[in-house]
């Protein structure tokens, strides 16, 4: 029989609730918690080991937790890695996504998990793995485990995996052509859709186009000479040791760095960690991307009123709109608190 490893949090590992959320990862032989449900649902693999990790431990020591878990797996043979189901539990969902992604990258085995649509882990990780569309609370355990098992068995048995709608996972942003099972030609689908649209009946497009999330352009500053300005970039300029561990692509983290005592950013003190362009010019002179030098000069010349003492930085390449919005929501209070009137956003 093929082998599976299961990842669950401290709660489903029966360690404890919130008070045990700092629980460091451990690996146990055999199945724990939901493991029995997977076997009951007919998983075509034996769960040989279960990893239990506290949600907070994973959330606040991510790199450490991931590396500890990866080393626990180094001497294990397994054909699939299953995490969750995580339901709507945000930290648990993010933990499942984080560890699945790391395991897939390191050990090249298929990974699979389940989350509710409201779980932030969905937006963060759906491009990277199969995340089954799960229930919102743990009373949906049986259904969610059955759904994961069904898809896991297809993967284990080398069967063809159908599209997201058919299999019940969140679309991974991959579009492929398929032959319709009913063979219904385009001209018939065209007429059906046309007549429905003409008659105001609901219809389903075959190419969903997302509604653009446009932000209205802010009104112009009334008096630049009095305005307080903040600087921001998606170009990945950070202190050379990257203290906030911002990722080089698909960023989920951001940092802010004090510039009140400097006239410009020095090469060797700041650099870019952006993986989407040749960093040579930016590393030689970080002001190329984050022009603190020019801003300080203009400040002295009185072109604008004052400069917010920090610049804000993340990496734009591959970063999802949802993550970008979340990071903005986290940054905005700092700007409001300091009465910033305008932001210069520097892209690369």
């Amino acid at each position: 029989m093929k082998k599976a490893v299961l990842y669950i949090n401290q709660f489903f590992g029966q360690i404890g609730g919130e008070e045990k959320a700092d629980y460091a990862p451990e690996i146990r032989e055999g199945k724990v918690g939901p493991g029995a449900a997977y076997s009951g649902a007919g998983l075509d693999a034996e769960i040989t080991h279960t990893i239990i990790c506290g949600d907070n431990y994973m959330g606040s020591n991510t790199e450490k937790a991931v590396s500890e878990i990866l080393s626990m797996l180094a001497d294990k043979q397994f054909d699939i890695f299953i995490a969750g189901p995580a339901f709507q539990a945000g930290r648990y969902g993010v933990a499942c996504g984080t560890i699945c992604k790391a395991v897939a990258e390191k050990y090249k085995v298929p990974v699979i998990t389940s989350m509710n649509v409201e779980n932030p882990g969905v937006e963060m990780f759906k491009q990277d793995m199969y995340i089954l569309k799960g229930g919102n609370i743990s009373s949906k355990m049986r259904e969610d485990v059955a759904a994961v098992t069904k898809l896991a068995n297809k993967i284990l048995n080398g069967e063809e995996i159908g599209c997201a709608d058919e299999e019940g996972y969140f679309g991974r942003g991959i579009r492929r052509q398929v032959w319709r099972k009913d063979g219904k030609p385009a001209y018939e689908r065209m007429v059906d859709m046309l007549v429905k649209k003409l008659n105001g009946e609901p219809f389903e497009t075959e190419l969903p186009i997302p509604e653009p999330d446009r932000v209205p352009i802010a009104p112009a500053l009334k008096d630049l000479s009095k305005a307080r300005i903040a600087m921001m970039t998606t170009g990945g300029i950070v202190p050379v040791d990257n203290p906030d561990r911002i990722q080089s692509a698909s960023a989920t983290r951001w940092g802010r760095y004090d510039i009140s005592d400097m006239d410009k950013l020095e090469g060797g003190v700041f650099k870019t960690i952006h993986a989407g362009f040749d960093p040579a010019a930016a590393n030689a002179d970080p002001n190329r991307i984050m022009p603190i030098d020019a801003m300080k000069t203009l400040l002295k010349e009185g072109v604008y009123g004052s400069l917010h003492p920090y610049f804000y930085s993340t990496v734009g390449t591959g970063t999802t709109q949802a993550e970008a919005k979340r990071m903005a929501d986290e940054i905005i209070p700092y700007l409001q608190e300091d009465n910033v009137d305008a932001v210069i956003m520097i892209s690369t």
């Binding site: 491009q127 995996i161 599209c163 997201a164 709608d165 058919e166 679309g171 991974r172 942003g173 991959i174 579009r175 492929r176 052509q177 398929v178 032959w179 319709r180 063979g183 219904k184 030609p185 385009a186 001209y187 018939e188 689908r189 065209m190 007429v191 859709m193 046309l194 007549v195 649209k197 003409l198 008659n199 219809f203 497009t205 075959e206 190419l207 186009i209 997302p210 509604e211 653009p212």
Partner: protein
């Protein structure tokens, strides 16, 4: 306007003593047919083959497909192209059904040419894999474009159209097994019961992007690059007013066969008087410069509004740059209050994650998606190759490559191939046949 298409169903094609059609058997006198083809002294080498479904035949580089037809009254089947100008769309035309003339280069291919398999896994990728085909494999003295990636293929394409007309002579005097009648009167003063139904136009965007002449689709022999959108009767499309060109990666193309049999027009005809009032066709085009694209969109929206259309279907013969014409046209129609459906293929890249159309607009809320230019296809060797398979890798066919660091060459020594759907001959069937759609994985 009333068009009667007299159908003769071809069950088998053979080479025989004389050109004839009897009991479903189309017999072609090969030497005479070849002699006819070689009347064009640009043709240096020509041979005819028969390719029917199930045959272990792969064709490459395929340049054109035409349904053999003849008019009993002597008008040219393709007015302004194979003969003098005359109105199309009216009167009687005879057609050999389940049958097409395919034109294949003996040696040289180009960006716009493609592949057809008659059996195996590859058969389903084109409409022509299921037809009885008369295959003209030929070479020409058009040395000026021998090594050009973009070829006009003029001699070969004309040879195909002439051959289709030549072959259909054998049914000129015969009584058809069945007659399809397409009749649609003026757009106004229709039966009040029909006028109550929502009125619809079919907007076609045939390929017309080449500024140089000789590559684009022709309308009564006129280069579609030289036109602004205009109104046409659907019968004209079904009856040889349009001839396919030699530009655009081929899975997105419409062969002349596709125009002659346009299934979307036929579907709208079937709905006429039931669910819709089919007004007719707005013949638009595809352009390169933004101003040209905008001008065409503006014309289409104006014509649709002036005609009082409630709804429209827009279909593009292309992908990539033409997506801008396609989306622009739909948006212009929607802005004019015309409820619009689009029919197109997509190009999502090797990882499937690229934006499906080069430009998108949320006003395009009703799209029928017919296939993916970028789909990777790997096919085993085929017993017989008509043409020169190496062309797929060597001559810049849009879905082939000479070498790839990871995938190797498109054409392997054993005759197996790896290619993108982009070079499957008219494979995405945007004209309306496509049984394919796109799904998210």
């Amino acid at each position: 306007m009333k068009l009667e298409i007299g159908n003769f169903y071809v069950k088998e094609i053979v080479f025989g003593e004389k050109l004839s059609f009897q009991n479903g058997v189309l017999s072609i006198q090969k030497d005479e047919a070849l002699k006819f083809i070689k009347e064009d002294d640009r043709i240096t080498e020509a041979e005819l083959y028969i390719a029917k479904p199930g045959d272990k035949i792969r064709m490459c580089p395929v340049k054109e497909a035409i349904e053999p037809r003849i008019r009993p009254d002597g008008r040219a089947v393709f007015p302004g192209y194979t003969g003098d100008l005359a109105p199309a769309g009216e009167g009687v035309v005879h057609a050999l059904k389940n049958c097409s003339v395919l034109v294949v280069g003996r040696h040289w291919g180009g960006f716009q040419d493609g592949v057809i398999d008659m059996s195996g896994e590859g058969q389903k990728y084109t409409y022509f894999g299921q037809l009885n085909n008369i295959v003209l494999v030929a070479d020409t003295n058009e040395d000026f474009e021998k090594h050009e990636q973009q070829k006009k293929n003029d001699a070969l394409r004309r040879a195909g159209h002439k051959l289709a007309e030549y072959i259909a002579q054998c049914v000129k005097e015969l009584k058809p097994e069945e007659t399809e009648v397409y009749e649609l009167g003026g757009m106004i003063k229709r039966d009040p019961a029909i006028e109550k139904l929502p009125s619809v136009v079919y907007v076609m965007q045939p390929q017309s992007q080449m500024e140089a002449m000789g590559y684009n689709d022709l309308m009564y022999g006129w280069d579609t690059n030289h036109m602004v959108p205009t109104v046409m009767h659907p019968n004209e499309i079904l009856d040889g007013a349009l001839v396919s060109g030699s530009f655009m990666p081929v899975s997105s193309k419409w062969a002349t066969y596709d125009f002659q049999n346009c299934p979307s027009i036929k579907a709208l005809y079937r709905e006429h008087g039931k669910t819709i009032n089919f007004l007719g066709v707005i013949m638009s085009n595809l352009n390169v410069a933004l101003e040209q694209k905008e001008r065409s969109a503006l014309y289409v929206a104006q014509i649709a509004s002036s005609l009082g259309a409630d709804g429209a279907v827009v279909a593009e013969e292309g992908y990539g740059n033409p997506d801008a014409d396609f989306v622009g046209c739909i948006v212009a129609l929607e802005n004019a209050g015309v409820k619009t459906i689009g029919v197109t293929n997509e190009c999502t890249g090797r990882d499937g994650k690229s934006q499906p159309l080069v430009t998108m607009d949320s006003k395009c809320d009703a799209i029928v998606s017919t296939g993916n230019v970028s789909e990777m296809i790997e096919l085993p060797p085929m017993e017989t190759v008509l043409g020169e398979l190496e062309a797929l890798a060597r001559d810049g066919l849009s879905g082939g490559w000479a070498n790839d660091e990871l995938l190797g060459p498109s054409v392997r020594e054993d005759g197996s191939i790896i290619m993108e759907n982009n070079s499957m001959f008219c494979g995405d069937q945007i004209i309306g046949w496509s049984p394919k759609t796109m799904k998210e994985f």
